[in-house]
Amino acid sequence: MKKEILKLRGVKVHFPVQAGVFNRVVGHVLAVDGVDLDIFRGEVLGLAGESGCGKTTLGKAILRLVEPTDGEVKYISQDDDETELTSLEKKDMDPFRKKLQIVFQDPHSSLNPSFTIFGSLQDPLKKFGIKSKEERRKIIGDLLEAVNMRREYMDRYPHEFSGGQRQRIGIVRALCLEPELIVCDEAVSALDVSIQAQVLKLLMQLKKEKNLTYLFITHDLSVTEYLCDRIAVMYLGRIVELCVSEDLYNNTLHPYSEALISAIPVADLDKQTKRIVLEGDVPSPVNPPKGCPFHPRCPKATDICKTEVPTLKKYSTNGNEHYASCHLIDLPEIT
């Protein structure tokens, strides 16, 4: 039986836009605008979408690196205790900070240039009760070996490492308190393709060894197919499609996902489908279009799309749950 580790309900993150001499709030960036999502223990959930659609913001909202404007983030422990995270006081958040961690995108800003690896990693360990220095060194050394680096590297400075190495150190940092869920925010996008593959394999290997759950953020749908159990596609701060990976590629329901998938380069020429080119830019999240947020660019848009907002409905493909939000889906809705 699948058990949830996180339940997001109506999560919104709105950034105020300020202007003028007195910093008056003139509007809001609707970076995340009402996301419902369940993440199950032990799965790899992909989160895909174009740049600026709010993937990083959603990932950070889960860890409360940005405060959600509205909505609930519930953490469910192994003994089925539910805790709502967004309403917790800062200090009550600590036990959950251990469980939820993040690996960042940019290997160049992800490590502090003024400290050795050990120097920047030891404070979190200290805070979570590992008092002896020897023990801290052992934990970090062991983890460095787990990501195929040498223990001695902990006494070196970040500038001595390559991008791939830095990213592996970022993984060490995320792992050092034995988390349950890791948000991988485009964890390999900045790396060379050959290094990408190795870091991805490493992530999968660690997942197996340590029973991790990943929220795998990416803008590249060609990677997700092989890695992720399920994939959520995001557009302008909302989830527009959510299903098992295979179904996303073989039984695509949402026109936006279709367009993203058609943009993946295919090696096999026979399989090459016609590429759907999206017209126009992503609309500004400050003033999202009325009706279906995708309608100005949607090749299938009809009149109803301009006025009515489609909701995320549950369908079934290949016997799997399949959520999508589009008016034109002619499958029976499951309630």
Binding site: K60, L63, L65, K90, M93, D94, R97, L100, Q101, I102, F104, Q105, D106, S109, S110, L111, N112, P113, S114, F115, S120, D123, P124, K127, F128, N148, M149, R150, R156, Y157, H159, E160, S162, G164, Q165, G170, R173, L177, Q198, K201, L202, Q205
Partner: protein, 304 residues
């Protein structure tokens, strides 16, 4: 299967990484770059000589800077009195040495203290943002827009002249610049991913901003400290020359220069004001060279 292909690949990468000799630590790279800058090194040498000479003044000169000796008034430079003597027979060379103590103390002390205040406020406000930041920003603007000379006049007329009043004024008018520098650095640093990572562990604001972020904001601040030191020394000299700075009985470079107000001395006794003027200029120039050298060697955009 003994080893997965993944392991093998990683072993290969590791071997390559080890063959590459790692560069030495970052610190020494900055030092090297600084040492390659001739002007900065020259500045540092003269700066050190002047500071050491001031500190060890009693060893270098047999005279007492305050002792009036009416038998040897207004003597030109000689073997006994290298810079001559002033109108009350005090040895000018000795006074320049002892004056250096006070002047450098005021300059460096005010610069460091205003940096401490500016950094303490700027780091916290820049990292936290919100109303704390807005208030701190407005207060700094008020202090920075207040003309220094009027503040000096005000304080002198209220509390009288004293060394510490002068330093207090320098700090009041100087911390704003440091604050802005620290704040600006923190604003850009707080978006860095390593800061986000520290926050994701729930570390305290103090640990994050003063321990982990501050070291990365220090180099422009160090440069600013040197430049402010030079500026404060010049301002002290200027104010003391006008009789508004340090009380006249304490020898400072500005107070020694003060005698040049007298047109008679200005025209006839060049040694009473000339050498001290040169020492001030050279010292300020050296400090500026050091500041430039520091800026170039710590500028991250110029690091290979």
């Amino acid at each position: 299967m003994a080893k997965s292909s993944l392991d093998k690949k990683f072993d290969q990468i590791r071997k390559r990484e080890e063959e590459k000799t790692f560069s030495t630590k970052k610190r020494s790279r900055i030092v090297n770059k600084f040492l390659n800058n001739r002007l900065a090194v020259l500045g540092l040498i003269i700066f050190t000589i002047i500071i050491l000479a001031s500190i060890f003044a009693p060893l270098l000169s047999p005279y007492d800077p305050m002792r009036v000796d009416l038998r040897s008034m207004r003597q030109p430079p000689s073997f006994d009195h290298w810079f001559g003597t002033d109108s009350t027979g005090r040895d000018v060379f000795t006074r320049v040495l002892f004056g250096g103590r006070v002047s450098i103390f005021i300059g460096l002390g005010s610069a460091i203290l205003s940096a401490v205040v500016g950094i303490a406020v700027g780091c916290y406000a820049g990292y936290k943002g919100g109303w704390i930041d807005v208030i701190a920003l407005r207060i700094s603007e008020i202090f920075m827009s207040f003309p220094q000379i009027i503040l000096v006049l005000l304080l002198v007329s209220i509390t009288g002249q004293s060394l510490f009043n002068l330093m207090a004024i320098f700090i009041l008018t100087g911390w704003g610049g440091m604050y802005r520098l620290a704040r600006a650095r923190m604003l850009s640093l707080r978006e860095e991913e390593y800061v986000q990572a520290l926050r994701s562990f729930g570390l305290s604001t103090f640990t994050i901003c003063y321990k982990h972020m501050l070291p990365n904001a220090l180099s422009p601040i160090m440069v600013n400290i040197t430049l402010s030191t030079a500026m404060f020394i010049l301002t002290e000299a200027g104010l003391s020359f006008l009789g508004l700075g340090v009380p006249l009985n304490i020898p400072t470079w500005g107070n020694i220069l003060n005698v040049a107000q007298d047109i008679l001395i200005l025209q006839n006794y060049w040694w009473m004001w000339g050498p001290v003027g040169i020492v001030i200029s050279v010292f300020v120039l050296c400090v500026n060279f050091i500041g430039d050298g520091l800026r170039d060697s710590t500028d991250p955009s110029q690091q290979g």
